[in-house]
Amino acid sequence: MQIQQALPELLIKIADDELIIGHRNSEWTGLGPVMEEDIAFSSMAQDKIGHAWAIYRILQEHFEGQDPDQFAFMRDAAAYKCCHLVEMPIGAYEFSLMRHFLFDHAETARYQSFSQSSFTPLQQLAGKIKGELKYHTLHADAWILQLCKAGEESRQRMQGALDDCFQLAGGIFEPGKEEALLISENIYPGEQALYQQWLSTISPVIEKAGLIMPQMTAPVYGGRQGQHTQYLQQLLNEMGEVFRLDPEATW
């Protein structure tokens, strides 16, 4: 396989992750446990969806990809390459908060590596996105620490959420088929390296919060190959509901 095929695979899975978690985060708009959190989740949702849009534009520009709206709003679940973690419904706040913590640290590791990528459009985009992610992880860390220190009930809730999310988060780093080529071309260092980087960043926060770090025994793979939970198609049906009324129309 050539780099021209391997690179879009990488870009699509990253952008799909961001669009879907952004969509999920946006579901908190109006429903947050305190208004400040409601606003924070909306704000992060905009960033994530914006990142996805930017990457779909790179695909369009450099790899003869489709128009980003068509690509995002018309594909069915089987054509999506996001991991299962981002597909899950928002659940209780602790689930969404823990997912945000685990996902954003993974994103940070990813974009840090992209800032040295040999693929210039990605390297340039990483410069901008890294700055935004700093605030996302700052937000996640602060809330995890604060809630875990606030008594047994909330610490237990956060531990439960960590246990629920952890194997799913392992799926972020599902190995890609053409990873070796991407590594050798200095596009990025590969999923295993990012996973190690991620572990080294989240471990101190988890320890400081007094949470027990689960073992990564059964990371949930399949998303990168187009195998998904039922929740993704439901989400996509809703997301495309208006757009699909007339995909040729402008809205």
């Binding site: 969509h23 409601d38 909306s42 849009w53 709206d69 220190k149 909330s154 989400l235 809703e238 007339d246």
Partner: protein
């Protein structure tokens, strides 16, 4: 958005007179002179009991309208067609929640806590703008809300921003600034449908037909039956009459709607060239009061969503307060 022009009031105004009598007449005269000179009243300043009560009611209802007003549009965030609309709608609804936050803060300066205000919202004691008790059935409804209801709210908020209470005016200045962007995005989405395919135009016309009466209700009952006292105008709590604001809205927006080839479901709607005022059929005011009483199509649904958010968030708020206490006790006593 979203402060409606109308401040809901429960019946029985006898308390007002009793409280009024308790105000020191010398201080009251000085207070009224300050307002007449155009000065702003600040939180620590002396103010009549009734002024404080009316302002809390006004700002609280405005704040509730922001967070409840986020719901009908919020349900369309997940369905917004295309990246541009999706991002704009999230940003817009997020702003509305932010406005709620600003307004609760402004109301708190008058002595009522955010928790007490939210409790009164959930119990039904405190009201919010009636317009949010109607369903947003299609994407076109979102564009009608984003364009016309935001526009109506701006008329009201620009007027209130010139009022007498400093913290409320400052909050409104920022809110109006952001609202002007909302209006632009609402107008843009509205025009997109109005100039789009036949199905899009039909969708928009249908939404406009359904929303027209709630929009006419938005500024409240006609001046001839509105119970609001001259005192509120003199104290610059209420800055413009319901009919004046409604007329201002019609003057600015009806031509824009007609220019796009859309119609409005009121055969009597026209501008009287002699008086310069708009004439229209009286909307159903009995229905308006029924909706205020809680019998609108979405009153229960809106409050249930808020109750869900409050109930599911209660452990977090408690945890944060416990954390604050813990931090406080950990600090050395100087």
């Amino acid at each position: 958005m979203y402060g409606g022009g109308y401040i809901y009031e429960d019946s029985g105004r006898s308390r007002q007179q009793e409280e009024q009598l308790q105000d020191d007449p010398v201080k009251l005269a000085a207070f009224e002179a300050r307002i007449a000179r155009g000065e702003k009243i600040e939180p620590g300043d002396w103010m009549p009991v009734e002024y404080r009560r009316q302002l809390i009611r006004l700002i609280e209802q405005h704040a509730h309208s922001e967070i409840i007003g986020a719901l009908p549009e919020g349900t369309w965030i997940t369905r917004a067609p295309g990246f541009k609309r999706k991002l704009a709608l999230i940003a817009k609804v997020q702003d509305e929640i932010g406005h709620g936050q600003l307004l609760y803060n402004a109301a708190e300066t008058l002595g009522k806590s955010r928790e007490a205000m939210i409790n009164d919202l959930l119990s039904g004691k405190s009201k919010y703008s009636n317009v949010f008790n109607y369903p947003a059935e299609t994407w076109a409804d979102v564009t009608v809300i984003g364009f016309l209801i935001d526009a109506a709210a701006i008329v009201n908020q620009v007027a209130n921003a010139k009022g007498s209470y400093g913290p409320y005016c400052r909050a409104l200045e920022r809110i109006c600034y952001e609202e002007s962007f909302h209006l632009k995005q609402g107008h843009d989405a509205f025009i997109e449908l109005a100039t789009g395919t036949a199905a899009q135009k039909a969708m928009l016309q249908d939404a406009l037909n359904r929303w027209w009466q709630p929009i006419m209700h938005f500024f409240g009952p006609p001046d001839k039956v509105s119970s609001h006292s001259e005192k509120l105008m003199q104290w610059k709590v209420k800055m413009a009459s319901n009919d004046d604001m409604r007329n201002q809205f019609l003057e600015a927006y009806v031509p824009k709607i007609w220019e796009l080839g859309l119609t409005l479901p009121d055969t009597l709607l026209k501008k009287n060239q002699e008086t310069g005022k708009w004439e229209y059929s009286d909307p159903d005011w009995d229905l308006f009061f029924e909706v205020i009483k809680g019998n609108g199509p979405c009153n229960k649904e809106r409050l249930n969503v808020r109750k869900w958010a409050e109930e599911h968030g209660s452990w977090i708020r408690k945890a944060l307060m416990r954390e604050e206490e813990r931090e406080r006790t950990a600090l050395p006593v100087a």
